[in-house]
């Protein structure tokens, strides 16, 4: 059984999706989704443990040896990302039950959970596969299900947001598949490890740099790197609360993983950073993302939107780390994948609680919430502290490594800009805190604390974001090992 975990991690949630659809009852569909998410958490943790003790796991699907068949290949990098995705899934799903009941009409709930499971298995499928075309297939599953879930947001504008995302996402996916096609033409293989071996022989050709370009643009579109982020703010703002929490913590992270996988494992550090000078593009873009998007967030008055812009800025941190091309930098990027998932998940879930009781996340509607929904707002403050990067939160750990990576290369300017970014986070978080704690509420509206079924999952993430900030030795160790693995080029 346990040797099949790499496949089962993906296909168990996948088969539960049609089961959820067939059950056609909200409760049964939820049960399926719940089972799928927790299974994924169990499987991914088991896999990470195995990878840490035994090294790379390769699973030949159908018994066909790679590169003739499709291979699932788990190393520290993607096992770590899979754990991140599965953790968020497992925390969001109990939250979704209560939240979705309010925000989505009952007749659509079974299909909602079907889409949720599809998205989860799509993301996990991308993460664990060792085959580039397979990446594209699962990317489509996760993207299509994401589009449909976003469209269910209770604001009409969710539809336009979805449409934007659909167009941009499809362009991104097309670019990725063009890149994959070009690579296949030049090497005759789709297996990642095999590609890495065969690519160096044909790199002088024009085709491979073009393939690289298409993949870069496609993936950065999917991960919403500035200035290709335009789809993200609306999508996050208008999606149902549970969907935003899940997506914000997983979808872009998996794309960041893809970036790492393609640049380091497949093309190799020397090609990506030496020949293509990728860092010359990524570093300025991520810095602009950090500063400009934080600035936009400061002036936002819809808190979900504010957090969405903050997400674009935080993605900038991840890409910035990668753009250093050093062990420390990539460690910072990987750590921030996990850390940001925890804190942003918590923040969006807190906003879901507000949405549940207040029906809006406009800043003006949040006056005095600190007293009326003390636990919800305390969770928001907890997540916010992490976003700012206060010590003993996960955000600090990320920053610690990121600034270290910058200073290691003597790049004190970048180190300073990173700090300015986190101070800007202070401004926009404090803005919300001030309204919630120091402004008098409308006395005639009665607002109660959010139900426990929403609060507990939210607080699980808040506590996790402190836990892994206080004892980051495990996560940091895994991330460092993974970064070393990536920079060695092998997988």
């Amino acid at each position: 059984m346990s040797e099949h975990l790499p496949a089962l991690l993906v296909v168990v949630p996948l088969i539960l999706a049609p089961v959820a659809a067939l059950s056609n009852r909200p409760r049964a569909a939820f049960a399926a989704a719940f089972a799928g998410c927790w299974w994924a958490l169990y499987a991914s943790l088991a896999l990470l443990t195995r990878v840490r003790s035994e090294g790379v796991i390769s699973y030949a699907l159908g018994g066909w040896a790679p590169p003739y068949g499709i291979e699932l290949r788990l190393d520290l990098v993607n096992a770590f990302v899979a754990v991140t995705v599965a953790t968020i899934g497992a925390v969001v799903i109990p939250y979704a039950w209560t939240s979705v009941k309010k925000e989505i009409t009952e007749d659509r709930i079974p299909l909602f959970y079907t889409a949720f499971l599809l998205m989860l298995s799509g993301l996990l499928g991308i993460t664990v596969t060792g085959d580039v075309f397979n990446v594209f297939v699962f990317l489509e599953i996760s993207s299509l299900s994401a589009y449909s879930m976003i469209a269910l947001g209770q604001d009409r504008r969710a539809l336009t947001a979805t449409f934007q995302y659909l167009i941009m996402g499809s362009v991104g996916a097309t670019f990725i598949v063009i890149g994959i096609g070009f690579m296949y033409v030049m090497t005759g293989t789709l297996n990642m490890a095999d590609l890495a071996e065969r690519l160096p022989a044909v790199m002088d050709n024009r085709t491979i740099p073009v393939a690289f370009t298409f993949l870069t643009v496609g993936i950065t579109l999917k991960l919403a790197l500035f200035p290709l982020h335009l789809w993200l703010p609306n999508a996050y703002t208008y999606a149902p609360s549970a969907v935003t929490a899940f997506m914000a913590s997983t979808a872009t992270k998996v794309s960041v993983y893809l970036l790492l996988r393609f640049f380091f494992t497949i093309f190799g550090f020397a090609f990506a950073f030496g020949q293509m000078r990728l860092n010359m593009v990524l570093m300025p873009l991520s810095l602009v993302a950090i500063l400009a998007m934080s600035l936009v967030a400061i002036y936002e008055i819809n808190v979900k939107r504010l957090l969405a812009f903050s997400s674009v800025a935080q993605i900038g941190y991840m890409v910035l780390g990668i753009s250093f091309g050093s062990v420390l930098g990539v460690t910072a990027g990987l750590l921030h994948i996990f850390n940001h998932a925890l804190m942003k998940g918590a923040l969006f879930m807190a906003m879901g609680c507000v949405m549940y009781r207040v029906g809006s996340v406009q800043l003006s509607k949040m006056a005095g919430l600190g007293k009326k929904m003390p636990w919800t707002m305390a969770a928001f403050v907890g997540g916010g502290l992490s976003l700012i990067g206060v010590p003993l939160t996960v955000g600090f750990i990320s920053k610690w490594y990121l600034v270290q990576a910058a200073l290691e290369q003597g790049n004190w300017l970048v180190a300073g800009l990173v700090m300015i970014g986190s101070l800007m986070a202070l401004v926009y978080i404090w803005k919300v805190v001030e309204v919630a704690y120091f402004q008098e509420a409308d006395s005639d509206v009665e607002i109660r604390e959010a139900p426990l079924s929403l609060l507990i999952p939210t607080w699980v993430l808040v506590i996790a974001s402190f836990w892994f900030g206080i004892d980051a030795s495990t996560t940091a160790q895994v991330a460092t090992d993974a970064a070393e693995l990536l920079l060695r080029g092998g997988s």
Binding site: A7, I15, V19, L22, G63
Partner: protein
């Protein structure tokens, strides 16, 4: 409706052939172009043609939307079921060689997954058609 006699008669003749062709495409997939994907679409085309000519109401009586929807989901279950069978019988996921001796196992496996594909594609295409055709026009 009377002025559509030619269409109706033509369709009545055509539809069985379309379906037979679909079966041919499906089962001949091992030898020539074709397979579950194309066959599913061709089957769906038969129903769509029926619905276009004899009206949505009649089509729904022949194949209720729910049935199409169940087909769509069941196909995925069948496909993955074949995959799980590989594990249960002691092989890898999607391993056909353990289903039966030697290449016979491959045959069973391929038939199984193709069945899954044809079911899903057929169900999805019909369900999509119902979803679009069943909607009323929204004018503003």
């Amino acid at each position: 409706m009377d002025d559509r006699v030619i269409l109706r008669v033509g369709a009545k003749i055509l539809i069985p052939f379309i379906m037979i062709f679909g079966l041919y495409v499906h089962f001949h997939g091992d030898y020539g172009p074709g397979g579950g994907f194309q066959a599913g679409v061709i089957f769906a085309a038969a129903f769509v043609l029926y619905a276009l000519i004899f009206g949505l109401g009649n089509a729904i009586q022949v194949l209720p939307p729910k049935a199409a929807y169940i087909c769509a989901a069941m196909g995925v279950v069948i496909y993955l079921g074949v995959g799980f069978l590989g594990i249960i019988l002691g092989g890898q996921f999607m391993d056909y060689s353990v289903l039966a001796y030697s290449y016979t196992g491959q045959h069973y496996g391929i038939i199984g997954v193709e069945l899954g594909v044809v079911t899903t594609v057929f169900g999805v295409m019909v369900a999509l058609f119902y979803a679009f055709a069943g909607r009323r026009r929204v004018d503003s």
